[in-house]
Amino acid sequence: MKPRTNAEWLSALKATGAEQAAALEDLRVFVLRAALFALRRSRGNLGLMSPAEINQLAEDCAQESLLAIMQSLDGFRGESRFTTWVYSFAVNTALVAARRERWKRVPLDRLIEETHPGASAGWRAPALADPDRQTLQAETLAVIREVIDRDLSVRQRQALKAVVLEGVPLDELARHWGSNRNAIYKLLHDARRKLKACLAERGISVDDTLGLFGAER
């Protein structure tokens, strides 16, 4: 394959006839490579899928990415290599598909559960051997739970529990709610800002609390 500069990629992909066809064929190699690479890296999410099924998933992701790239060509600002820009489309598409495969059988409704005020009391933290650290952990947890139960909206509570505490991918929660990644991120950002402000108001140093919840797990 002939190496191309950014300008040559754009010119060829916006051309017609044989020139565009050749460029599309080369572009397809890049997106398929990225899709296969991303799916192989995310193999743990793909469970019992056979190599043939993963290969087909990569082909589907490559096709979807090609369409998205061609529709977005005018948005390429030339601040990176064209191939890196192309990779970002295919990797995004493939990893979203891999996360969907991993989470499609998980009942998110049950995982998120609810969410009435007081629900966070059931979210346990690990016990600590040091009594002073145990006390600080309990104080911090009490404030965090109070803010979660009193000041966050139901959606903020659910998103916080699912994404931050239980590890549900942002795009899977977005899909579950018929929303989008930006909206879920904003929901979580607002919740974090509220928690940060309330902890500061209570005089709790977040730096001092680091390690209280995971170090002895």
Partner: protein
């Protein structure tokens, strides 16, 4: 999953900024950030808000790490072949 990730939540709270990039803004800036890194340039100081987003957003971070690996291999002129990738699935 061994239980709720409270330590992760506290870290998220500590690193929360008033103004953070959205996932779409992250996606737009990611290729530039990756290429700066691959070229040995100071990506973190050139695009600090992108770094901040990557530290807060697991899905964007996973995508960044994958694109960075690919871009590194590309820059070293040893991109993985389609056949090798297929055979290693």
């Amino acid at each position: 999953m061994t239980g709720p990730d409270w330590d992760g939540l506290v870290r998220h709270i500590r690193e929360t900024a008033d103004d953070e990039l959205s996932c779409s803004e992250c996606f737009d800036l990611l290729p530039q950030y990756v290429d700066l890194e691959v070229a040995g340039q100071p990506a973190e100081t050139t695009l600090p808000r992108l770094r901040q987003h990557l530290d807060r957003c697991g899905v964007c971070r996973e995508e960044y790490e994958t694109v960075r690996e690919l871009a590194r291999l590309e820059a070293e002129d040893r991109p993985p072949s389609i056949d090798d990738l297929r055979n290693s699935l």
